[in-house]
């Protein structure tokens, strides 16, 4: 593994990391980033093999942070160490950052118009639909009673009762991990 990553390390320049992740950042919309990265990194450039990519995806999904940015950090640091991770994340975030500020400018100019407001209302509704879709996809991994109970408790505390999220998460996350560690037998791999 280490010899493999060291050969990868020498072959990818920081500039090409920034360019590749910029292109993915600018072309990927709403949750499709992983698919674009797969095409670019595994199929087109062969920077990662498929198995490694799936592991990266799983780790990046469970850790805090936006998945596309986490994947950039993971892949960039695998290829070129910490500076590579920073370059990849910069490439991933910078172009969309400029685009969203341009959209924000247009919003501040024309956001008052009823039609613009109606269109944004429609887009927000679709956005919530996408959030539900992601929730349903993630929920497929939660099958046992206690983890389901934990998910429902967090939903009620944060979504319904509007308790502040950080203390809720700080209490229930260690509990959830402890439950998985000691109460639930490990699935056969």
């Amino acid at each position: 593994m280490s010899s493999e990553s060291s050969t990868e390390r020498t072959s990818v320049s920081l500039l090409s990391l920034i360019m590749v992740f910029s292109r993915v950042g600018i072309t990927s919309f709403g949750g499709s980033t992983a698919a674009w990265l797969y095409r670019e990194l595994v199929q087109r450039r062969g920077w990662l093999d498929e198995e490694h990519f799936v592991t990266a995806l799983t780790i990046c999904q469970v850790l805090p942070g936006a998945n596309p940015v986490n994947l950039s950090i993971y892949v960039g640091s695998q290829l070129r160490g910490g500076i590579g991770g920073a370059a990849a994340a910069f490439g991933m975030v910078m172009p969309p950052f400029c685009i969203i500020l341009m959209l924000g400018y247009f919003y501040s100019r024309f956001g008052g118009s009823p039609v613009a407001h109606a269109v944004l209302g429609g887009l927000a509704a679709v956005g919530v639909g996408m959030t539900l879709f992601i929730g349903v996809k993630l929920a497929g991994q939660v099958r046992r009673p206690i983890p389901i109970l934990i998910a429902v408790a967090i939903f009620i505390a944060v979504g319904v009762l509007r308790w502040p999220m950080i203390p809720v998460v700080l209490v229930l996350t260690p509990l959830s991990i402890a439950v998985q560690r000691w109460l639930i037998p490990k699935k056969s791999a």
Binding site: I26, S28, F29, G30, S32, I59, Q61, V62, L63, P64, G65, A66, N67, V69, N70, I73, Y74, S77, G82, G85, V93, F97, I99, I100, L101, L103, G104, G111, V115, H117, A118, G121, A124, A125, V126, G127, V128, G129, M130, T131, F133, G135, L138, Q141, P147, I150, A151, V152, I154, F155, V158, G159, M165, V169, L172, T173, S176, I177, Q180, K186
Partner: protein, 176 residues
Amino acid sequence: MSDGRLLVIALVFAPLSLMSFGGGQAIIADMQHQTVDIHHWMTGPEFADFFALSRAAPGPSTLISALIGWKVAGPLGAIVATLAIYIPSSLAVYGAVRWWHARNDSPWRGALERGLAPVAVGLVFAGAVAVMQAAHVNALQIFTTLLAAGLLIFTRIGIYAIMAAAALVFALLQWL
């Protein structure tokens, strides 16, 4: 534009960064609570508009923090908010990846992975409810939300086709 505002922006977004298990959807509920109810930086409908913009734009949905930062403190606010929302989680990921590769066989690894999943699920659904409450949604929007979720779950129709159709329908209904 004062330094105080930039500091508050950083203090709001940096902790959210570390709480965004499963992605940006997880922290939308708290982001809305902080920006609308606690700091009064904007109204609920404005927040919902920002949410829509961040969903329509390329890149991670957490870039909504750039819009909020801009609204509160201009260009510097946008930069500070964006750094605050990405740097803490990125450092955590960098550390975790190193730890992960050092401990291939630790029983904690699987427990961590499976233990975080229910937290992410609960937070994602809470985020959906928070945005709907902030936007004071009408029946048509609720219908659109459910239809979009259904299409995404059960068909292979792309998100952009759905967004374009929704934008068109809502614009036409406004004109008529």
